[in-house]
Symmetry: C2
């Protein structure tokens, strides 16, 4: 059973991702080490003791549509009530509406633990957090006053309604329409698919954020507006009024995250209300809806990245525990009597170390991304630098972490042997749940396009070059540390960082020369390359940070394992980036 | 919907894997191109038109245990009847018992197609084929006469009962016991788990092959005997007699292959018959049971490898079809109006080409392994050489193909975007089904141990060195072909083959020096390395073979794509093999 790795998380936050520096610089107000530890400890307890035990029933029962109502799995309504009572929903939310305005770093750390407990459950508050952010950033004062406090407390939940059957990655072609009414409201008509927690029985109201098109809107992404569309209308005194004209038509039958109801939502079908059309309120300006969505995109993408980290952590814990208990055969150099624990078989050792290194790498990348987001709001200066850093790291955090989630979950099944294929073991659920994360909130292919065409070019390449220079400093510190346990780490990091630099410059040159096809052909290998280099660097940073206090042998040894085993892939990836495009174009004929 | 790629399969058999040479050398009797094509065409038709349409219902309903009977999914009993009627069960079986004694190459090609149609269904005859082989090789004439004809026709099915809860990879500790009776029979007592198609309603009788231990047997693997234990006893006239004392206690609830009943079998519980104990007959000699099982291990492992190829092929077909139809966004250089098919987005192109190259590589490796098996039986001389070649290729065919199956199925989901996560789409089933193949019939980690410690050392390393020399000839042929479409293929192959040689020699040196831990630490990376090099070489061989007849552009372009994109991983893997062991040993402390 999952146990939240609170100490490891606290260490990574403070000593690898920058929380310690931010506290020391006085950028986080009263927040000190003690409060950080207390919050993480309590979030970990909630994830371990309350969320994780209900994951299996959630997977088995799923959320079901019964007579038009979505019934959540046994125990989940109470779980959600406890969630609200714990005040977890408003960790980073504005204080004006009852939130705690804590840094995002703490929230993503807590999100990781809740998602490890149950990704299907944690999705619900994740969506609400996104809605809070969008409303707080773009909605009118009246809308904020009406909706935010209840969303921040968690009494009401939020959703994002983007996708339509023909409009997934390309939102420019969405068809849901909005009509203006004289009273300043709008009527929304259309169908949205894949709406996570679009309908359920755990909260009193559900606040939908819906992208739609006005009759006179320009074509494409410049003609999309964002609307707030509540399930129940809200009276002037804050009490709930009539049911709005929207409903969940059906739930998807999915590979994983069964507890999370994935709804097809119908707006304006005339099922409820006197006049056809779901009543909505504009958020932000007309035709600027996509920009409003993009505001919260960084956070939402990072939140999905946390799902990858979360599943990888939980799957690794489970596999390590099984490999310690299960005995089979005799490992080389096995001195005990009888059979060895399979953890001693070198191949299993390799698998588990790889799982552990990738998980810790993905965690460090994601927390570092959250740190950049925090700094972009709180730093005294260089705000643009931090915005760019967050923007650069977001696609990597999302894609690398979610790919790691799938790979590690798959390896976790393998470590369990035949038992891994049996659903009751629980290892298979991690793979089933993890598999959606590389897809939603922008597929990892879309992240790679974003990384190469929009993020590398920030400040004309200075942002990424500055970042690479910082990574080089970590390699230098390893070299000068004289810590023998690092083995060949310094050389391996140097080589990998050089490869990253070369691949970066090659891609920047393609983008500059408008050779988009060439740049995009290597985008995904480049994205993984970047994630691997960061994994090596951040594992090293952790080892260096702990060394003065002693007890760093494990961190340093894991870093060395990653440097001497996982980083060799970097050169191969660079080769694909720089030399792969021509053969890719030539081979397209076999797909015709 | 899956369509059997009969022409591609025929081409690979004849021109890559060696079927053409064997026919030309007169080693396959009357078998000529026409008959090969006719068999493949008809097997493909059966897979496409009869098996594939029933895969979804099999997955959805699964096989169920109802009042002690295993009920197969709707339509599967008739499907199995048609299977028998088609004569498919006895393709390679001995002619004396009604089989067609055709080469294994044809059988694995057909197995691929049936598994693409439904892996859960194809498992049933796969197990029967294994039972036929074990009985034919080791059982007494009386047992053969009693059981083989019905197994060859498929009227009865066969199973393999190896695993017990505490004895999976390590069969030496199994506890099922056998007691001698004066009439020459035995009584079997014990519990076996994970018994594929251990009980079902599609055949009149089920013939279990059961590993068990005699009371006076030596400890470990030298004390295991193999028994034939029929569900129904067989009367002297061949008719079915009393029910034997064995039954399926429960079915597993699995991640995939739901149509295939995975049974816990109880022997000798007293549920049936007057005297407690399931009646069994010895196959082979007492205490030599494991050797009997090993006889059929090569074929069984190769058959599982075919499942990997099969799922990869089906998943690739599905993803390519979707990527052609689905339009979204505008690809670079897109000249059409509206949105592009996603197949034109470079990242999707890369994914699909990778899927295709790996699938074809795994297929060529597996067919080549089957060719070696055939030659070991049929060649006029060098039988030992061919036995060794088959032995060397078997772990690679099993592990590389099944890893490819999982990776390609996962990529297939990704290409489908959100639709890939919806079960009705069918892409997720491929991943769920594929995930067992790297585990059963010897985990891929076990295959790697086998490859490094028992296969590289064949003929003191001469076998593998000779094989590498053959691969080098393919690289030379590419170099001298002057076919520009190959791009840098010759250089890439040369480099990869050199890496393979170095990794091989390093591992041989470790094994020679009894540095087993060091050798095993790199066993899995080496196994993948070998598979990738073979993929590159066999894609090249296909391109070279087709070039004289024209129309080879696609093969050559796909080979170039693989050489310039996938083979770069080879150097990284070699590095892990040779330089990874020390850091692996050092990092074990983080798992303590």
């Amino acid at each position: 059973m999952y146990k939240a790795p609170v100490e490891e998380i606290a260490f990574t936050l403070k000593h690898v991702a920058g929380l310690g520096d931010a506290i020391e610089a006085g950028l986080l107000g009263d927040l000190g080490d003690d409060l950080v530890d207390a919050i993480l400890h309590e979030a970990g307890r909630f994830a371990t003791d309350e969320v994780a035990p209900l994951a299996e029933v959630g997977d088995r029962q799923g959320s079901r549509l019964v007579d038009g109502r979505v019934v959540t799995p046994d125990g989940w309504r109470d779980l959600y009530k406890n969630w609200i009572a714990g005040g977890w929903n408003g960790l980073t939310a504005p204080e004006d509406f009852g939130g705690q305005a804590l840094p995002h770093m703490l929230n993503v750390a807590a999100l990781e633990m809740w998602n490890s407990g149950s990704m299907a459950f944690a999705l619900c508050p994740t969506l609400t957090m996104g809605a809070i952010e969008a409303i707080n950033s773009h909605a009118s004062g009246e809308l904020k006053n009406t909706y935010l406090a209840k969303l921040v407390s968690g009494e009401w939940t939020g959703t994002m309604n983007l996708t339509e059957p023909h409009a997934g990655s390309d939102l420019g072609v969405l068809k849901t329409r909005a009509e203006r009414r004289d009273d300043g409201t709008y009527r929304i008509f259309g169908q949205k698919i894949f709406i996570t927690w679009g309908e359920h029985d755990a909260a009193d109201n559900i606040i939908h954020l819906v992208l739609a098109r006005l009759p006179d809107a320009p074509a494409g992404t410049r003609g999309i507006s964002l609307f707030l569309v509540p399930k129940f209308l809200v009276n002037a005194d804050g009490s709930l009024g009539a049911r709005n004209d929207l409903f969940a038509h059906s739930l998807e039958h999915k590979l994983g995250i069964h507890g999370s109801p994935t709804c097809t939502m119908i707006y304006g079908d005339g099922k409820f209300g006197e006049e056809k059309g779901a009543i909505g309120w504009l958020v932000g300006e007309e035709n600027k809806g996509l920009a409003c969505m993009f505001t919260m995109m960084n956070n939402a993408r990072l939140a999905v990245g946390m799902q990858g980290v979360a599943i990888a952590e939980a799957a690794t814990q489970k596999a390590v525990a099984y490999a310690r208990e299960r005995v089979q055969g005799k490992a080389p150099n096995w001195a005990g009597g009888g059979m060895s624990p399979i953890i001693d078989h070198p191949d299993v050792t390799r698998t588990l170390l790889t799982m552990k290194a990738l998980t810790q790498g993905a965690r460090a990348i994601s927390y570092t991304c959250a740190h950049a987001i925090d700094m972009s709001h709180r730093a005294a200066d260089r705000k643009q630098h931090w915005q760019e850093r967050a923007a650069l790291l977001t696609p990597i955090a999302k894609s690398f972490s979610t790919d790691v989630g799938v790979d590690v979950a798959s390896s976790g099944i393998q470590v369990h042997g035949g038992m891994g294929f049996i659903e009751e073991t629980g290892a298979a659920r991690y793979l089933r749940d993890a598999r959606i994360a590389p897809i939603y909130e922008g597929t990892n292919g879309i992240q790679a396009i974003d990384l190469v065409t929009r993020k590398l070019t920030l400040s004309d390449g200075d942002q990424v070059h500055g970042f690479i220079a910082e990574l080089k400093q970590i390699a230098d510190q390893v070299r000068h540390s004289n810590l023998g346990g690092f083995g060949a780490t310094a050389n391996r990091l140097d080589s990998a960082i050089t490869d990253l630099g070369e691949a970066t410059d090659w891609l920047l040159a393609q983008v500059r020369d408008a050779k988009v096809a060439e740049a995009l052909a290597g985008a995904t290998p480049y994205q993984r390359l970047f994630g691997l280099v960061l994994t090596g660097c951040y594992l090293a940073k952790g080892g260096l940070a702990q060394a003065p206090a002693g007890g760093a042998e494990g961190r340093i040894a894991l870093c060395r394992f990653a440097a001497e085993n996982l980083l060799s892939e970097v050169t191969a990836l660079k080769d694909s980036v720089i030399n792969g495009a021509a053969s890719l174009a030539a081979a397209k004929i076999v797909l015709a």
